[in-house]
Structures are given as C-alpha cells and as structure tokens.
Amino acid sequence: MTVFIIRRLMQAVLVVFLMSVIVFFGVNVIGNPVDMLVSPDADQADIQATIERLGLDRPILEQYWLFMKGALQGDLGNSFIFGEPALKLILQHMPATMELALTSLVLAVLFGIPLGLFAGLYPENPISKGIMATSILGFSLPTFWVGLMLIILFAVELGLLPSTGRGDLGTFLGMQSSLFTLDGLSHLFLPALNLALLNISLVIRLTRAGVREAMGQDYVKFARAKGLSTNRIIFVHVMKNILIPVVTVLGLEFGSLIAFSVVTETIFAWPGMGKLLIDAILQLDRPVVVAYLMIIVLFFVVINLVVDILYSVLDPRVRLQDHGQ
C-alpha cells in the first residue's frame, strides 16, 4: 500500500508538471491581456509601461521559468486585474463554492435515493414512470436555462426565494458560511438545486437499477424466507449493496461540482471560484486561470487517490496492488 501511494504521488507530480506546461503555454497564445487592462486614454508609452510591468515583453520561456520558480515556492503569480496573489484570490472564493457543492451533493442524496428507491420497488407504478421521465429532463436540460427558469419561478413569480447572491454569512466553529444563517440558506437553495439536478437524476437512475437488481438476488429471498420485515430488507440489506456505486459516482461528481460550477455561479451571481475563473478567462487574467487549473489538477489527483484508498477500506475484495511491476 505504501509503495502504491508513493508511486501514485510521483505520477501526480508528473501530471501536475505536464499540466502546468499545457496550461501556461495554452493561455499565453490567446489574445493580449494588455488591451484588456489599460485605459482607452492611455498613450503608447503607458501601454509599453504596462507590458513591461506585467513581464509580457519577456520571451515566453523566461516567463514560464519565472512562473515555475515562483510556483515551487508556493507563489502562483499575481492576478493582472486584482494585483493580488492568484492563490489568495482562489482560496478567498473557495468557501462559497464548497458550500454550494456540498449542499448540492446533499440534495442529490436526499432527493435521488428515495425517488430511485421508489421507482425501483414499484417499477410499474405511474409515479415511478413519472420519476424516470423527469430524470431524463434533469440530464438533458441545459443548466443555464433551468437556472433562469428557477429564478423566474421562485424569485420573480412566487417571490419565495431571493434571486441571486450569497446572503448573510454566519460563523460557526470559526468558519464563515451561508449555511449557518436562514438568509444564507434561502440564497443557497436555488443555485444548489440547479447544480444538483444532474446528480439527482444520476442517483435516481443508479439507485433504481441497483434496487431492481438486488431485489431478485438470493440474499433478499433468503432474508424474506427468514421472515425479516420488508423495511429491514430494503433499508439494511439492499441499501448497503446499492450504495457502493452511488458513493463512488458522487465522489467523482463532487470534484466536478467544485471545479466546474461556472454556469450556475454566473447565473446566480454566486461569488465562488467558478465565477472567478470565468471572469479571469474573459478578461485574460492569465495568472488566475493558470493557478486555478493547477489547483484543480491537484484536487483531482488527491480525490482520486483518496477514492482508491477508501475503496480498499470499504470493500475488502479490492486490493491496492502495484500492477506496474
């Protein structure tokens, strides 16, 4: 296991390095940030001064060398637009995205599992068919459109929930989050739901398929024969078995929720990392784009590693072997 982890970490370093090359050179061929930054009133000398201050007059290899030198010391460069360290900006925006991703994950479980269970237990029931049909919509409707519809329905027409923003923050155990205030939760609900729709559909389908399969298995029949109550069969024995794929998928989805909640954050003006990223891309704030992608790469590498390790803990049949030898 130790060897496995060490090898994985070495692979991770390689991945991160390759990614830094691709990302750094990739963003450097797009457009020219100077024209996004200077005031229109600036004359040629001002523009030249800005180019030099940002180091854009240097050869690209030298820029990359300087970037790597800084990165190894934990400095991913300063944002062109905010003038602050890119890493600090991203960490500043991270809690907002985390609470959004976590909440949407909880919603996916809360809605997805009961609905999937019902649809799996009573496949012929018209309600089940309705659930399955709706879950297709969850897959296929574009997020930005659903987001706007949610705003129009709940905020504009019904006036039940606020349309945009993060709301008041509460402090609990030293953490600031909108999870800890009523106002914050009311702001959180719509964007989290919007972000969760796809995963709700996914969980419904996984759960239903799992239940349908499990109900015909020998161990369920045996449990019945033993005289166990239906509830105990479903919620203890069946549930335990169908949860494994659900947990795996949700674990991986969590990563993409954090990394790519861009659309939802833009529609709901949610001050998270996704919005930071899209703004940085639009305004060619190269250091922020690079830093963001580097962090996300690290993030995915770590998640995958953790998932692999957890797997072996959850399911003793899975052994972490080093097949490479």
Binding site: D35, D46, A96, I151, A155, S163, A269, G272
Partner: protein
C-alpha cells in the same frame, strides 16, 4: 458659467432638501461590471472610477453631462502659461475627521501614478504635472508646456488622505482601513464578487445623499440582472440588455431611465498599407488598397443606413452619428450632419474611383464589448455588399480582438483592414477622440494611440496640436470643431451611432443618466 453653476447647485440642494425628509433608506444597485479594487488609484477603469466617486471626491467633479463642476477645489485657473492655480474648499473633513488641505492633494498626485501592480495607472492624466503646495488651501499645478486640459485631467483623480491613504497599500483600501475619503458615502464593507456596502456621510460638504445605505451587487449576467430587479432583490440595475427593454417598458412596476453616452461606435479603415490584408478583388486576387481613396471611404459612409441600424439592430436605443461626440459636448461642430443614406450616390462614387465592379473585404469586430456589436457589424456588411463591396464578417471576443486590432500583424501593426470599434471620450470633450483616433500615429508624442487605421493628415494634426496648446476656451472649442470637420471631410473614420445607455429601476425611482456611463447612487432620485 459660474452663475449657472450656482443656480444649478441651488436647484440641486432644494431637491435634496425635499428628499432628505425620508432618511433611513437603503438602496441596492445591480452593477453590470464589478470594480476590481476599492483602491481609487489602482485601476483606471470605468467600474472602478464610478465606485470610487462614492467614497472619494475629486478636486473637480464631472456632472452627468461631464461638464466640470467645483469639487474639492472651488476654483481653478491658469495664472501663467505653465501654472494652474487651484483654490481648495475649506472646512471639508475626511470620514475619519481629519481636515482636508493641500497636503492631501500633493500626496495624492504623488501616489496616483505609481501604485504597485497597477494594471492601468492614473499616470496617463498626471504625467508632466507637478503639484506644489502654496498654502493650506492653494495648490499650483506646474506643467512643462501650456496645458489647457488641466481641469479635465484633474477631474479624473480621486483625492485620498495623506494621513491614512497615501502610505497605504491596495490591500488596505480593500480591507477598508484606508478607504477614507471626503465623498458622500463612507465605506462599510467589501466582499469581492458579492457586494460593496457604503453608508451616508452625514458631514458631507455638498448635498447629503438621499440614501442612508447603498449596496452594490455585481450581477454580470444580463438576464440575471433583469431577474434580480423583477424579483425585487435590487432596486435598480445598470446595463439593461436591449432585448429586454421592450418587455420592461411594458411592466408597470419598472421604470426605465435612458441617456446618450459619450461613446461613438465607428468604423476604422486601413489607410496605410498599399496592400491591405483583408481587402481583395472579388476573385480573391490582390489589389491596391481602395480604402486609401477618400472617394471609396465616402462611398462606404454613404452606403450605411444609420437609421436602419438604430431602428432594427439597436431597437431604437441609439442616436445616428455624424461626428465624434453627440451634440452638447465641448468641441463638437454644429456644421456636421449625419451622412445621408444614398446607395446610388455611393455606387457612383465607387465607379468614379475606378471600383465600379466593387471589391471584397472583411469587417472585424468584437462580439462582447459594445451593445449589439456583432449584429452591427453584420448589418454594415450587408449594406456594403449591396453597393458591390462584398463584405464578410468576422467577430471575436474582445480579449482576442483588441490585441489583434491594435498590433496583431507580424510586425506589430494593426492586423485588420476594416474594423468596428467604439470610443468613449473620458474627458468629455472632443480632444480625446481627435488625439487618439484621428491624429497621426506617433508613439513618441503619445498621439494616435488608438488610430488603428493609421489615418494621417498633417493639416488636421496641426489643428489638433494647436487646440491642445490653446488655453482660451472659446478658441479651443473652435479649433476642435474645425479639426472634427476636417476629419469628417476626409472620412478619417466613419461614425455610425452614439450608444444610449439604459438603467431600469423599480417604480418611483429615476436615474439621472450620465454620458460617462457611470452608475452612481447620488444620481438615483425618487419621483
């Protein structure tokens, strides 16, 4: 001039008095673009400059038509060719209670051009100027050459306090500790991406604002902004998408405020390359650049149906343009009309210039910078194709577009042949576009920085330079108008229309639309 100022000020204060009766009221504004910092000198950019006007004052203020009004200075005038004397307002205090005086001005002028990491500094307005304290309430600005635009330049620079501001870093301003100005509002809190909160400065030297508290929320997506207004989460929004104007007009809970801006949308033509990269004969073979012929440029201008652009593309929310700034601005010519739509005349001119069979070219433009920019480019292309100039359209995000349009060719020259661009005159008078767009490109002198067609006419250059040396207002006004007329006669650029900006507020609120496109809480009044 001074009398009218006083009358205006008196009228404003009467209005303010009648309104302050309802005191504790919060206003929430949805902004289309977010300021990047609360440090007023960090980034010389529209959203930042608009935001800093709430917390900080300038020596000279620009009113909603960008006319210069006394701010922290009560008067300013040249006392000799190289010296301007500013008399400062007495009895003004910063939000922390310290008095405002000449030291604050001097240290502001030192700090503003030189903020660490600043992407666009105020050096543009301050270079060549030295501030010298004469006494506590008198400052002299000394220049190297006679400089008539002193008032316009100084009106852009926010004054910070020498006790708290001048030694502070950008982080200190963002944290609020240094965000101490003399402005109508005081800093309360700043959460990047989410909100900026300010409260009324009850000791403000001018008319106290109506609103006890103002929250600014960046809502960068257009539909989201409209939805937030309809849901009642914000009281007013800036930048209403033109497609939503019709629906909002029909909504009895919403009130729209519109005003023309200082931004002209225009076409720039390659006038410096014998073989322009995106101009060819119709069969694709190389031809001598027809855009260098003034008759061809005139024909293009005549072929553009500006009324149709305004009616169809802009849904009526724009004003056809015949020169660089809309009427009412300093330096516009009263002799220039919008070029009349005349496709037959245009064809005849092309014929006369030897292009009776037409030619082919590509129009390049941004697709996320100006209101409906890509659709305007398409409309122009159709109109030109009708007179025989086969025009293809290529639009791209502004992040890619402006770099290529300014210096995208291999030798660092403008890459395109025929482009759609806009220009907002930050100074609020005609020398701004004349200097940057019309004057011959000259990097050493700082002229023609945005002259992407490289139009060059020594005669108009001479008039512009003379205007920039002429301190006498009436004479300068005439020179600027004359330069504009010459530029339009030679079709240096082709103006199509002036943008009109739209704000939307809940019923009962009106916004005094500003030509500089800024969204200011003091401009929001109750009806």
């Amino acid at each position: 001039m001074k009398k009218t100022t006083k009358v205006l000020a008196a009228a404003a204060s009467v209005m303010a008095l009648s309104l302050t009766a309802a005191s504790a009221e919060k206003l929430t504004i949805g902004l289309a673009s977010e300021p990047t910092s609360l440090d007023p000198h960090f980034h010389n950019l529209g959203p930042n400059n608009a935001m800093s006007r709430h917390i900080f004052d300038r020596l000279i203020n620009q009113d909603e038509l960008q006319r210069l009004m006394p701010g922290l200075a009560v008067s300013w005038e040249p006392i000799d060719d190289l010296t301007w004397e500013f008399k400062l307002r007495e009895g003004v205090t910063f939000h922390d209670g310290t008095p405002f005086n000449a030291d604050d001005v001097v240290c502001t002028v030192e700090r503003a051009p030189d903020v660490p990491n600043s992407p666009a500094s105020f050096g543009t307005y301050l270079k060549g100027k030295t501030a010298v304290k004469i006494d506590d309430y008198t400052v002299h600005f000394i220049t190297e050459e006679p400089y008539p635009l002193m008032g316009n330049d100084i009106s852009t620079v926010p004054i910070i306090s020498d006790e708290t501001g001048c030694g502070a870093s950008t982080e200190d301003f963002n944290a609020g500790t240094a965000a101490v100005g003399t402005g109508p509002f005081k800093f309360v809190s700043y959460t990047p991406g989410a909100s900026i909160l300010v409260e009324r400065n009850d000791d403000y030297w001018g008319d106290a604002p109506v609103w006890s508290e103002v929250e600014f929320r960046p809502l960068t997506s257009g539909p989201t902004r409209v939805a937030a207004l309809l849901a009642g989460d914000v009281d007013m929004i800036a930048g209403v998408p033109t497609t939503d104007i019709g629906t909002l007009e029909g909504n009895s809970d919403i009130q729209l405020s519109q005003g023309v801006s200082n931004r002209v949308i225009y076409l720039h033509m390659d006038q410096f390359r014998e073989n322009s990269p995106f101009v060819t004969a119709k069969d694709g073979s190389e031809i001598k650049n027809p855009l260098m012929d003034v008759r061809v440029r005139k024909a293009i201008s005549m072929a553009i149906n500006r009324d149709a652009i305004v009616d169809r593309v802009m849904e009526g929310v724009a004003i056809p343009a015949g020169q660089l700034l809309p009427e009412g601005f300093f330096g516009v010519s009263d002799k220039l009309d919008v070029v009349a739509y005349d496709p037959d005349g245009a064809k005849a001119l092309l014929e006369e210039a030897g292009y009776g069979d037409g030619f082919a070219m590509t129009i390049h433009g941004p697709n996320d910078r100006y209101i409906n920019d890509a659709r305007i480019a398409e409309a122009v292309a159709q109109m030109l194709t009708r007179i025989g100039i086969q025009t293809a359209v290529e639009t791209m995000p502004r992040s890619v577009y402006f770099g290529r349009a300014s210096r995208g060719s291999p030798d660092g020259l403008p890459e395109f042949s025929f482009i759609l661009v806009g220009w907002g005159a930050g100074s609020g008078e005609a020398s701004s576009p004349l200097k940057s767009l019309i004057h011959t490109h000259n990097a050493d002198a700082g002229f023609g920085a945005s002259n992407r067609g490289r139009h060059s006419d020594p005669e108009v250059d001479a008039v512009i330079e003379e205007a920039l040396r002429t301190v006498d207002d009436a004479k300068r006004q005439d020179l600027l108008a004359q330069a504009t007329e010459m530029a339009m006669e030679n079709v240096a650029i082709i103006p199509t229309h002036f943008q009109v900006n739209t704000w939307a507020a809940k019923k009962g609120l009106k916004y005094n639309a500003r030509t500089d496109e800024y969204t200011l809480a003091i401009g929001v009044v109750k009806e």
